[in-house]
């Protein structure tokens, strides 16, 4: 029988890249230590910081919130959870339920931004009216809401649950299309830009997707493990992830070496020129009007950025 490399009890996880096997207890400890090391090495969180963890309700969110919750006393930071309800039928309803259960389990404050309630349209409705792909609209809305929440709630950083597989596959995709400016954004910490953009951190940077799933499962954290109905298994993103996993099977640890090199060299990639302020909402924009204000202006006749900022600012004043 395979035994835990630490205590000799029966192993439940075999990590080939680390050449170690773990029982449940020591696997949980291994993941937490790995995330704590990343937080320290990349200077993600400081003492007395206010951190917003953006959670979707999936396994990575559960791992992110679960680990940050255990580290918050040790490092000494404040943690708030943010869930964005995208209005994607049953998928969003169950994701929201999982997020509420997760916050309740961990005893953490949860802020919910309901896209349909706030903007008048769900993500699929917006995509239909704008004649754009749901995933592209979803990305614009999520990035904006996270940034606005971070700025208005006075956060030092917004943490997302991107794991090593996500980061590796995004970087490879951007490389294939030679969008080198986008690779530079895939570093563990994207620094804030005064009053325009909140600092963004990726604590699961060196955690494999499989490890994230096992961590949530073994800690019995609430999560909803279904694919978004708009995601496609034959998409380029998914195929790249599968390709990286094939490499990993043949060359164990290639994924972790890859993301660690990216963390080190990512800042060498070209940067997007100058940051400007959106003329409607005042947050980050590349051309004078941010993508969020542009799409909501087309949908609702007036840009929704200022209203979203007010929503979070009111929450802050009431807390």
């Amino acid at each position: 029988m395979a035994k835990c490399s630490i205590c000799g009890k029966p192993a439940v996880v075999d990590l080939r890249y680390a050449r170690r096997r773990f029982c449940a207890e020591h696997f949980i400890e291994f993941v937490e230590r790995k995330i704590e090391r990343s937080i320290k090495e990349y200077k993600m969180i400081g003492k007395r910081d206010r951190v917003i963890a953006a959670i979707s309700g999936g396994k990575d969110s559960a791992t992110l919130a679960g680990v940050l919750d255990r580290l918050r006393d040790r490092i000494g930071f404040e943690l708030i959870l943010l869930h964005i309800d995208l209005g994607i039928s049953e998928y969003s309803r169950k994701s929201r339920e999982a997020s509420v259960r997760l916050a309740h389990r961990l005893g953490l404050e949860l802020v919910i931004f309901d896209v349909k309630e706030m903007l008048g349209y769900s993500i699929p409705e917006m995509a239909l009216r704008l004649r754009r792909r749901a995933c592209s609209v979803c990305g614009i809305v999520k990035r904006y809401v996270m940034n606005a929440a971070g700025i208005e709630l006075g956060a030092d950083s917004v943490a997302t649950g991107h794991n090593a597989d996500d980061i590796g596959s995004y970087a490879l995709k951007e490389f294939l299309f030679q969008n080198l400016e986008n690779i530079g954004k895939l570093v563990p910490v994207s620094e804030s830009i005064d009053n325009l953009a909140v600092r963004k951190i990726k604590p699961l940077y060196t955690v494999y997707e499989k490890e994230s799933f096992l961590y949530s499962l073994l800690r019995e954290l609430p999560y909803y493990h279904e694919e978004c109905p708009h995601a496609r298994l034959d998409s380029l993103d998914f195929t790249i992830k599968e390709f990286l996993n094939k490499l990993e099977e043949k060359f164990p640890s290639i994924k972790i070496q890859y993301v660690k090199m990216l963390a080190r060299k990512g800042s060498n990639y070209p940067k997007i020129v100058e940051a400007r302020s959106c003329r409607h909402c005042g947050l980050l924009s590349l051309g004078g009007e941010c993508s969020f204000c542009r799409i909501t202006r087309r949908l609702r006749k007036s840009p929704a950025g200022p209203m979203v900022r007010r929503y979070f600012s009111t929450l802050r004043n009431h807390s």
Partner: protein, 64 residues
Amino acid sequence: MVKVRVLPEGKILDVEAERVEDIFRELGYSREAYVALVNGKPVVESRRVKDDEEVVLVRVLSGG
């Protein structure tokens, strides 16, 4: 013959296997992309499986 349920698709496959690693090999699934659960708990690939045990392969990859 071991019955293997594959999630999230939900399909059930019959596999000739003595150990979990045989299931991965027979089905050609990546051990990086799938986690094997026996009777609801994660197991290492060298774990022996019996015909009457509940074996599930869960795809952990998301996004696309």
